[in-house]
Structures are given as structure tokens and as C-alpha cells.
């Protein structure tokens, strides 16, 4: 298993995340709706809005899983926040980075993953809107466009939260 690199701007990134005062808060309909829409649109069993903390990834909204966080060392999203583009893993069992990841070899038995980074206007990537399936699959250009839009809607909600705390 390949543990994701730590972003060069990690301390600034974490500061921006903590400033939102969003970690360990209760579910909110505006985020739940986005995750639910994504799960239905892409017909995936699991869709999650994750925020990558120093040692863990925490789920602000989730469909298809009762887990509310995992270690950052096993997190796919920790890889996804290293780049601007949507990260697609068509088959985790055939990907050297993830083949022996406990989230692949055990519950929830991830095979397909697509994570769209939640990038603030500042360029800091706090987490992802991600899709998970238990079977390999791919996304076409239209799918990627739709996932990117849903991610943008999630970022808008994060920005609203940012404005509330700045006010």
C-alpha cells in the first residue's frame, strides 16, 4: 500500500480546514443532499464528502456507509487532494497504490473510486466529493463534468460556511 504524500502546503491547508469549524459537526442537509444526489446520479453504493485532517479523513456527508472517519494512511482521498483534477481509480485491485489497502481487501471492498478535490478559492484542497463502487468501472467526459459540478456545489457550501465564520 502506498501512503499518500503530505501536500507542501499542509500547515496552511489544515489551518484553513480548522478555520471552517466543520470537523466533527452534525450532518447538514445541504451537504447530505449533494452526497445523495451523487449516489443516485452515478448509481454507486457509496458517496461521501470527506475532509482530510492531519491523521484522519472525516466524513461530513455520507451515503451507503455508517463509518464517519478512517485513518489518513488508508485514505484514497489523501491521494486525491494532491492534484486539481478528479482522481479516478477504475480498479483498485489492479492499482499498485491500493491493491493491499485494507479498504480494498476488507470492508467496504473498494474497487472503483473517483474523488473530486474540494478546492477553495485560495487553491487549498480540503477534501473530496468521492464515489465508491464495489465493482470496477470508468467515467466518461460527461460523468466527470457532472461530478465536477457536484463538487463545485459542495465547495460553494463550504465557502458559505467560511463567510459565516469570517462575519
Amino acid at each position: 500500500m502506498q501512503v499518500a504524500a503530505i501536500p507542501a502546503n499542509e500547515s496552511t491547508r489544515l489551518a484553513a480546514l480548522y478555520q471552517l469549524l466543520i470537523l466533527d459537526t452534525l450532518p447538514e442537509e445541504r451537504f447530505d443532499k449533494i452526497a445523495a444526489f451523487a449516489a443516485q446520479e452515478f448509481e454507486v453504493p457509496i458517496a461521501v464528502i470527506t475532509l482530510v485532517d492531519a491523521e484522519r479523513q472525516w466524513f461530513k456527508a455520507k451515503v451507503g456507509t455508517e463509518v464517519c472517519e478512517t485513518g489518513r494512511d488508508v485514505s484514497f482521498c489523501a491521494h486525491a487532494i494532491l492534484h486539481d483534477d478528479i482522481m479516478v481509480v477504475p480498479d483498485a485491485a489492479a492499482d499498485a497504490r491500493f491493491v493491499d489497502n485494507p479498504l480494498v481487501t476488507g470492508e467496504p471492498h473498494i474497487r472503483f473510486y473517483a474523488g473530486a478535490p474540494l478546492t477553495l478559492a485560495s487553491g487549498l484542497r480540503l477534501g473530496t466529493l468521492c464515489l465508491i463502487d464495489r465493482a470496477p468501472r470508468t467515467l466518461d467526459a460527461l460523468d466527470l463534468g457532472i461530478l465536477g459540478t457536484l463538487r463545485d456545489l459542495a465547495v460553494m457550501e463550504l465557502a458559505r460556511r467560511e463567510e459565516q465564520h469570517d462575519a
Partner: protein, 134 residues
């Protein structure tokens, strides 16, 4: 921006926003959003559209329950491009009555629940495509 303008009439905000924003980000047709029939009529008065995707709801109850096709009738009766532009309908289910009513109104496509943004975007892509040269 693309020259093609498509009207999307859909009350559910997330589906509507997702379709309009994705169409914009992919450089497809410009999608103009209307949450209600009244909003759609206002938009129709303001510009010409090359196609429309319209959610139709049931009105009435019991045996009198039927789809409200008032907006479609307004479009087709219009003296402008609305008379001939391609229209797709979003409906909960395809009843025999609905299909018959749609045939009479020259509807291009019926999209049934569950509504997916991808299906709407594929429809919009077809409506916005330039006509093929023969």
C-alpha cells in the same frame, strides 16, 4: 459561449443547477433555468430557444388526474420558434394517455424517473447540435 440556447423547466434545484452548470463547464448549449411554468414563460418572451426540456406534473386527483401540458401547448401555439423547436418531457411514468397527448404535440423525447443529470445533458447535447448537412 455556444450559440445554442436551451430552456430547462425543472422544479428540483439541485438537478436543475447541476445540468446548467455542467453544460456550461463542458461548453455545451447555454441552459436557461426555470423552476416554474411562469418563470419559463417569462424566459420564452425574452429570447429564442433551440430546444426545451420540461418537467410535467400531474394535476387533479382520482380519475381526473392528468399531466399538466399547459406550458407545452403554449409553446406549440406560439408564433415563434417554439412552434417547431424540439421538446423533451420529464414525467414520472408513461401512461397511454400521456404518450398519445405527446404524439399530438410533436414531442421529441420522454424522460422517465429516476431523472439523471446525464440523460438530460445528453438530450440537451442533441438539441444543441447543429443540423446535419444532407
Amino acid at each position: 459561449m455556444p450559440d445554442s440556447h436551451i430552456l430547462l423547466v425543472e422544479p428540483e434545484p439541485m438537478l436543475r443547477r447541476t445540468v446548467a452548470m455542467t453544460a456550461r463547464s463542458l461548453g455545451m448549449s447555454q441552459v436557461h433555468e426555470a423552476a416554474t411554468n411562469d418563470a419559463a414563460l417569462r424566459l420564452l418572451r425574452s429570447r429564442t430557444f433551440q430546444g426545451a426540456v420540461v418537467a410535467v406534473n400531474c394535476i387533479g386527483s382520482g380519475a381526473d388526474r392528468q399531466y399538466d401540458l399547459g406550458l407545452i401547448d403554449r409553446l406549440r401555439a406560439d408564433d415563434t420558434a417554439g412552434k417547431t423547436m424540439p421538446i423533451a418531457i420529464m414525467a414520472e411514468q408513461a401512461t397511454a394517455e400521456l404518450l398519445s397527448a405527446l404524439r399530438n404535440r410533436n414531442i421529441s423525447r420522454v424522460i422517465l424517473k429516476p431523472f439523471r443529470a446525464k440523460v438530460l445533458l445528453e438530450t440537451i447535447e442533441k438539441f444543441g447540435a447543429p443540423p446535419r448537412k444532407s
